[in-house]
Amino acid sequence: MKKVMQGMLVMLATFTFVTSVSAKGNDTLLTYANQSHKIAGENVSLSNGDIAKIERFLNSNEVTDEQASDIIAKCDEIIAVLNREGVKDVTKLSKNVKNEIFGLAKEAANIVGVTLSYDKANKEIVAYKGDKKIDAISLNPYLKQTGTANVLAITMSVVAILGTGTLVLRKRFNA
């Protein structure tokens, strides 16, 4: 009986450890996504819509601690790039910087097996996991022309999956 109890305790501890390892990575990312970050002297945070995308990804995918750290490191790199440029107006970023940021976003997405691809026809960045389209970010921040509207030329990522575009977009349009 004692041995059975001991065995069960060990199993319980292992199970908790395993789930907490997995859950912790998700929690870490979610906490980071909910934080505000200083960019060019302003405190900026993701919108609720962007958090919804991230939550959706984390609800259906487990992220390890290591993956979460790597992703956060990439996001910090992106924020560093924006701070280096010190621009408040997104449209003033050069094409090279936009490409640099998009490259970092793709690397971050890759960490969790997500590929980002630009769909020119629909003017959105599409995220794939394997062959499956899991989400997309429109480069059009306005309500659809159920029609058309302005198209922004930049995206950036704070958290891999689809934080793409949003921090800076929010800065631009909520300023």
Binding site: G49, D50, K133, A136, S138, T146
Partner: protein, 214 residues
């Protein structure tokens, strides 16, 4: 004699082929030493712009019955629900995603919002053509909007509608904590062209019936 000749020829040829293979290995060895790093960089760059064709098996949309959180979401661009407005005789398919190519087929669901049953804001949109949402502007307060999904049926009651500008995204906020369905379409005051106005209907969740629950 002939056989012996053939054997000799084959043997000699094989020797030369082996030498050829040695040259090839040497060549690839040199390539590896000189270009391995560049090859890896090139490969990872190309990986970044490639879609992995490893098949992810298509799963049905799944909801956790206790927390009522979705654990398997529909693939972006696929139909996962139908939207019904009985008072306007509207019955349309709902697709996850809101690109122009999706809106051609029915109602689009903004991926910056939550799913029915998740307890947050839901943003749907559709064209204002006949056969889609042309009658939406006639909707009354207290009308019912029903969203039928594979994991449950959700009934919303209209409490407001507004005409807004397409830039007024703050009028269709994504919030957690209260399940509000927002449905919008273009509001044409003119007959031709692309209008800046949107007609938005706001509805609160009245009733939810999860599949399997009696």
């Amino acid at each position: 004699m002939l056989n012996k000749n053939v054997k000799t020829i084959i043997k000699a040829t094989m020797k030369s082929i082996i030498v050829a293979f040695i040259y090839s290995f040497l060549f690839f060895g040199v390539l590896f030493i000189c270009f391995n790093k560049s090859y890896k960089e090139l490969k990872s760059t190309i990986d970044l712009i490639s879609i992995n064709n490893k098949e992810v098996s298509s799963k049905d949309v799944l909801i956790d019955e206790e927390s009522h959180k979705l654990v398997v979401y529909p693939e972006y661009g696929t139909k996962y629900a139908t939207l019904q407005i009985p008072s306007l005789n509207i019955d349309l398919p709902v697709f996850f995603g809101d690109s122009m190519s999706i809106l051609k087929h029915g109602i689009g669901h903004s991926s910056s919002s939550y799913f029915p049953g998740e307890g947050g804001s839901i943003l749907y949109m559709g064209h204002n053509n006949v056969g889609v949402l042309s009658k939406l502007k006639n909707i009354d307060i207290n009308s019912e909007i029903i969203v039928q999904t594979s994991y449950g049926k959700f009934t919303y009651k209209v409490y407001d509608h507004q005409i807004i500008n397409y830039k007024e995204t703050d009028k269709v906020p994504t919030n957690k904590g209260e399940e509000i369905l927002m449905l919008y379409t273009c509001f044409q005051t003119s007959t031709f062209g692309h209008t800046e106005k949107r007609f938005v209907v706001y509805a609160k969740l009245e009733n939810s019936e999860y599949r399997g629950e009696e």
